[in-house]
Subunit: 498 residues, 2 copies
């Protein structure tokens, strides 16, 4: 058994090395690669992906997992070894259901679709994107057929990003929050944020972001921050974490973008070192991962206590823009609610409405009740209904996000689940650290960071998303009430008619 | 046969993707990786290296090569397909001799050794580096045992970098040039270069380097230039070429460093696109590759015609430092001969003496007549003997180069061979482009670049180093006389007692 476990670990480490290497290639492609490097990079990524898939779905992995059943059952449920065997078996069984040809075809169509989408978005030309979208949908439907499902054909897609979550469960959460968010968006007062609509020197934005990052709990020499067009975070080990951000010439969005990516980065950084080079060295789901990016971006990064410490340094850095702006006005501006067209620019109050719209459309595309050709019309109607805004063109509508172009269907709901989960976990954090506000007011984030690392990040993927939430909150249920209470309080705290 | 050739090409493309991916991981490690990422990176590199090795040394490749023998013999010797089969067979037979585990261990030890060396060099602490060096040497000795050799156990190591070259052949060339170089170094007049020993704004150095690079023949969007500690060049396809350089606060060394790496980059950039994703998509040897970095750095970049065009722009960029310095004084300074401690800072005349020293020490380390622990002493003695200088510390002595830290033993001689070969090929270039000087005086380098691409770079590895030299010069022999004549003329052209 020791030898079997060692063999399994060696094979999984090899596969982890391959997928982490793909990560390096992807980071390089998005951060540093010269544009003409694209075709060769696509080939290299496809090759590494195919080898990793072949090695993971190998019969030998299945035989080892069977032989390790007695060991697994003899150990504590959440021990590293029992978790490794259990989670790997689940991954293996899921991966084995998908024919290699279908997987290769999905990767190819996704790669082609991304390219076509980028052009279509630039040209506001949905018709040019439609065939690629239809191809991706057709492949996703074939993918769904590889699995059994009870509530919805959408569930196998969702499961890729939020393991164990049913479509009906998400729908229940979204049905609860939708009317409240719509009402809050309508009720929210108009806030003056014109001082955020002026130039801020990008180099000074960068320097200020780095000052904040130095306090959030990364070990020196284990991370870096680079500029990119579409910010993301990726890690190649717990000690090689790559944050990216975007410094616009106008406004201070980069501060929250950087804090957001830092939240993802801290998750990756905090995974127990005993889980490195295994399938457990990751967050349990995109929702849980997003809960932490939102925690650092919003629950910390838009809070009064945080800015009580940081606002004076920010004013000193940007005296022309903020010298005459009070802390109260600044906080009102960065916490305002204001319906808009673009998901990635949405405030906390309206953000999840953008997701609910996509979740609804995705289900209808997959169950066949909506034709892809009718998407622009359905999009505009839903934007009017949910957010009360008129969509002027597809570039600012259905073409705004890259996800569908590369086959990422089932991904969107995890953003809103992350928002909801972040508040469930935040209640636990506040109980555990009763003087957290005072710490933040003093610019101290280390205790918060350590608590999250010890109680959440270090677990990696040993437990399922629901088990992980249950471990921290006492209940595995996704409960939207803390999230709604937080947003109600946020909107009611905004100064009326400012 | 068509199917066999297609299968072989597919398998080789997969292996090429793996090795190019290793290149990306290596570039990232040296240019961007946070330092604590080192252990995970070493594992990832070892895994990719092992998989590539396993796939390449697979029996099936051997069977395909055998089946393709009739095709190979039916085609022109230098056709893409005949060359692919012939060169791949040679590589395959060499690689089959090395156990996969030994290869993985060499990669791992090299990656770890690089990190240890960087610390040791920074701390002038040879003792800290010694265990890593001894480990690399032990692995290299095991590697040598995989091969038969006639003249020296050093030959199998040399052959990795300079295929088909014997240690005795290199020794003969070096024995010819050593006394001449030593004498020239002694005879050379002292030249005033104090104006190169003052601060030059690094940003302005970078901008000027990029102006020059824009003229040497790279396609836009196919390359980038980054700062690093130990400059190098690597490519991931002919259209993804990565140059690195170093901008020191004092002096203009970065200009020639950048030109040097551009020479390597132009070789990679010029390889025929039909050879992409095959083992032929490379230079035939490091010596030939180096011949081109030296061509662009020295034969172009230190020449009168080149600076006739570029010196005025350089003066305009750095008026305080160069405004009062004549073109003649500038040329004398950048062509002066002056024994020093550091290989990478050595002038053209003394450079190969640094190599001869390393070639001698490497042979003794491998044949066992010198213990690694005794290296610092042997180094100092040889520096005194060859260059007449006293070595003050190991940072400026045996620890100055990275090569040994990552297992690159047998690599050094290719630098001096490159110097020698560059002059053999330059004679051919000058015959082919009789008005090259006039072109350089006009700042035009496109014809030179095109000629080298068409006649040399595009061949890739289709021919052996000696065949390649023979194709261009009419004789496969490495002839040091053009190199010695060039240096004699250079030294005699220096103003006496300036």
């Amino acid at each position: 058994v020791d030898a079997d476990l060692r063999t399994l670990r060696e094979r999984l480490a090899e596969i982890s090395d391959l997928t982490r290497s793909m990560g390096v290639l992807g980071w390089d492609q998005r951060v540093t690669m010269p544009p003409l490097g694209t075709p060769a990079r696509a080939e290299a990524l496809a090759t590494l992906g195919r080898i990793a898939h072949e090695k993971f779905t190998d019969d030998e992995i299945g035989r080892l997992l069977e032989k390790l059943r007695p060991l697994e059952e003899s150990l504590e449920y959440d021990s590293d070894d029992a978790s490794l065997v259990r989670v790997t078996r689940r991954d293996w069984e899921k991966n084995r259901r998908v024919p290699a040809e279908l997987r290769a075809e999905m990767i190819r169509a996704g790669s082609q679709g991304h390219h076509i989408w980028a052009q279509a978005r630039a040209n506001n030309d949905f018709a040019a994107f439609l065939p690629a979208l239809e191809r991706n949908l057709e492949l996703k439907k074939r993918y769904v057929e590889c699995f059994e499902w009870e509530d919805s054909p959408y569930t196998p897609l969702l499961d890729d990003f939020e393991p164990g979550m049913l479509t009906t469960e998400v729908a229940e959460v979204f049905d609860t929050i939708k009317p409240v968010l719509s009402q809050l968006a309508k009720d929210a007062p108009k806030i003056d944020a014109s001082f955020l609509d002026v130039p801020y020197d990008p180099d000074a934005q960068r320097a200020f972001s780095e000052r904040i990052l130095a306090t959030v709990g990364f070990e020196d020499g284990s991370w870096r921050l680079d500029p990119t067009v579409h910010p993301f975070c990726i890690s190649f080990s717990t000690r090689d974490v790559r944050l990216t951000t975007r410094y616009k010439p106008t406004g201070l969005d980069s501060l929250w973008t950087t804090m957001h990516e830092a939240g993802h980065g801290l998750y990756a950084h905090g995974i127990a070192s005993s889980l490195e080079r295994t399938p457990l060295a990751n967050a349990p789901s995109l929702g849980l991962n997003e809960s932490q990016s939102r925690t650092w971006e919003n629950l910390v990064g838009r809070s009064g206590p945080f800015w009580t410490h940081w606002y004076e340094p920010l004013q000193t850095t940007f005296p022309d823009q903020l010298g005459d702006v009070s802390l109260e006005s600044f906080l009102a501006a960065v916490n305002r609610a204001e319906p808009g067209l673009i998901r990635t620019e949405a405030d906390e109050t309206t953000y999840s409405l953008h997701i609910i719209l996509r979740f609804d459309l995705e289900q209808r595309l997959i169950d066949g009740s909506l034709a892809a050709a009718d998407l622009p019309e359905a999009w505009s109607a839903a934007m009017k209904d949910l957010l009360g805004v008129d969509v002027p063109d597809d570039t600012n509508g259905v073409l705004q996000d890259t996800h569908w172009s590369s086959g990422g269907i089932g991904y969107f709901p995890t953003y809103a689940l992350g928002n909801v989960i972040s508040l469930q976990l935040w209640a636990v954090v506040r109980d555990a650290l009763p003087d957290l506000d005072a710490q933040m007011e003093a610019g101290e984030l280390e205790q918060l960071s350590s608590w999250l690392r010890e109680n959440l990040y270090s677990l990696g993927r040993k437990l399922t998303p629901k088990e992980t939430i249950g471990r921290l909150t006492g209940s595995p249920t996704i409960d939207p009430q803390p999230y709604l209470a937080y947003l109600r309080e946020k909107v009611s705290a905004l100064p009326a008619g400012a």
